[in-house]
């Protein structure tokens, strides 16, 4: 005859001996995680179930979160919980079925952080085109730092590089990377940060999937370029970084341009600017020359006009003279005709007509003169609008030497002390040369 305790003890020993290390596949249900840190659940298949417990020491090693209904493969040992007489499996290891634990953890964290908007495109900061100081978060011992330094130095030899050394794999690496990112941010003068490491297994690269690293990159005010492993390795750091480089050397290429190319670009821009200006000046000078030639034309035309005016006035004077002469002649004839009749009356009449007649003549002459003058003025005004004199109205001036009135084209045409007259749109300035610079504009 056995007691319940004795039987339970025998069963326990027997079960524990026989099932000390087993692999089991099933579906998780009745998940409970009380404050103790232990996790309790039931593993079941279509027809049976078994109680399971994951003690805290094993639970903290889990990289992914257990979920109701999840298919898992577990390893553990069977035991009997004597107070209830229930057998259960004590889990040592839990793996998601069909997918690695790390892969699952990656997917779970990615989903959670994506839902927070951490990977959103709008969060991404632009990478500065010309950083002065580049921060690097990586290990001093890896290949990554050598690659990065080599590329940075080759492209931009005068770059200031500030390395925040960290371990890039293993326990605590994630925390170090996050702190280094914060340190470089605090340093203040860093323009862009490269964070990364060389290639390795998924396990090796794991630090760059840790939440603390992802959040540190998201929190960085300085733009961050991620460079983890090779092209095919994708980590959460890559998702959150402002720019993802496929490898450390590529990150270095992405953050700095090639110095000699920039200097060449500067030179090219400056030369182009000078060429355009020289062309522009030559063009304006041509226009000015044309303008000055135009001015000469105007002078000639003015002289012509004046001469024509003189001619017309002469002709008028002649006409008036003729009119007066013929009038006098007619008066004399009239006087002669009338002398036999009433000479006194005729003479008086005749004398009265003369001033009246000559007044009319003079009036007519005035009208004709005024008309001609008006026509000349109109012609001159028209000439003026067509004339390059208008150039002066746009702010140019013509420089002439005094007293020889030579128009200046080159500074070397005059010497210090030469007196000049500047013809402006309105008025003239008398100037004196204090310095002669014979440079062209560039």
């Amino acid at each position: 005859m056995l007691t319940v305790s004795e039987l339970t003890g025998l069963l326990r020993t027997s079960i524990e001996e026989q099932f000390s290390d087993i692999w089991l596949e099933g579906e998780l249900s009745n998940l409970r995680a009380p404050g103790s840190g232990h996790i309790y659940c039931t593993l079941k298949d279509k027809t049976s179930q078994i109680r399971a417990v994951l003690f805290r020491s094993s639970a903290v090693r889990l990289r992914f979160a257990l979920q109701e209904g999840m298919h898992v493969i577990v390893r553990g040992r069977l035991t009997v919980y004597e107070p209830r007489g229930e057998y259960q499996i004590v889990l040592d290891k839990v793996e998601p079925k069909g997918i690695g634990a790390l892969q699952l953890a990656f997917e779970q964290l990615k989903e959670r952080l994506a839902a927070e908007g951490l990977f959103d495109q709008e969060r991404k900061k632009p990478i500065p085109a010309f950083p002065r100081t580049v921060g690097v978060v990586t290990s001093l011992t890896g290949a990554a730092i050598r690659d990065i330094l080599a590329v940075l130095r080759r492209r931009w030899p005068t770059l200031h590089i500030l390395i925040a050394p960290v371990q890039v794999q293993g326990e605590g690496a994630g925390r170090q990377i996050a702190e280094a990112l914060a340190d470089l941010n605090d340093w203040g003068s860093v323009d862009v940060i490269i964070v990364g490491r060389g290639g390795g297994s998924l396990e090796d690269l794991w630090s760059f999937n840790e939440e603390i690293v992802v959040r540190a990159i998201a929190a960085s005010h300085v733009p961050v370029v991620s460079a983890v492993g090779h092209e095919i390795d994708v980590t959460l750091a890559d998702f959150v970084a402002d720019l993802r480089a496929p490898a450390p050397s590529a990150a270095a290429e992405a953050v700095v341009p090639v110095l000699v190319e920039i200097v060449e670009r500067l030179r090219e821009l400056t030369v182009r600017m000078g060429q355009v200006m020289l062309r522009h000046c030559a063009f304006e000078r041509q226009r000015l020359d044309a303008g000055i030639r135009g001015l000469t034309d105007v002078r000639v035309r003015l002289q012509d006009a004046a001469q024509r005016t003189d001619d017309l006035v002469d002709q008028l004077r002649e006409m008036v003279q003729q009119l007066l002469t013929s009038a006098r002649k007619r008066i004399h004839e009239a006087q002669r005709d009338l002398s036999g009749l009433n000479p006194l009356l005729t003479i008086t009449q005749g004398l009265a007509t003369v001033p009246q007649f000559s007044k009319r003549l003079e009036g007519q002459m005035g009208v004709i003169l005024a008309q001609h003058r008006q026509r000349i003025h109109a012609t001159l005004a028209q000439l003026n609008t067509l004339s390059p004199l208008a150039i002066l109205g746009r702010g140019y001036s013509i420089l002439q030497t005094i007293p020889s009135r030579q128009i200046l084209h080159r500074a070397s045409d005059v010497e210090v002390g030469q007196e000049l007259e500047a013809q402006l749109a309105r008025g003239r300035l008398s100037c004196k040369v204090t310095r002669v610079c014979d440079d062209s504009i560039v």
């Binding site: 950083p131 011992t141 770059l159 500030l162 050394p165 170090q176 280094a180 821009l269 504009i441």
Partner: protein
């Protein structure tokens, strides 16, 4: 920040050259932006010349204070231990 200043200066310089090459400005305005362009070009060169080539390592000393020292390729002792 010098990096930003340089970037802006280069961008402005590109814009000025584009503007001048359009060839539709009066001479005095052309001259004005040309002078600005020459100034920018000189400033850019100055910034490039000023840059100092340094590779440094940011470390934490025993009191938890951050300091920097020059990097040497054999220098591997600076990683914080876990």
């Amino acid at each position: 920040m010098a990096a930003v200043k340089f970037e802006q200066a280069m961008a402005r310089l590109e814009a000025i050259v584009g503007e001048l090459e359009k060839n539709d400005l009066p001479l005095d305005e052309s001259l004005k932006i040309f002078e600005e362009g020459i100034r920018l070009s000189k400033n850019c060169l100055k910034i490039l010349e000023e840059a100092e080539h340094k590779v440094e390592v940011l470390v934490q000393d025993k009191n938890g204070k951050k300091r920097i020292h020059a990097y040497s390729p054999d220098d591997t002792a600076d990683e914080p231990s876990s």
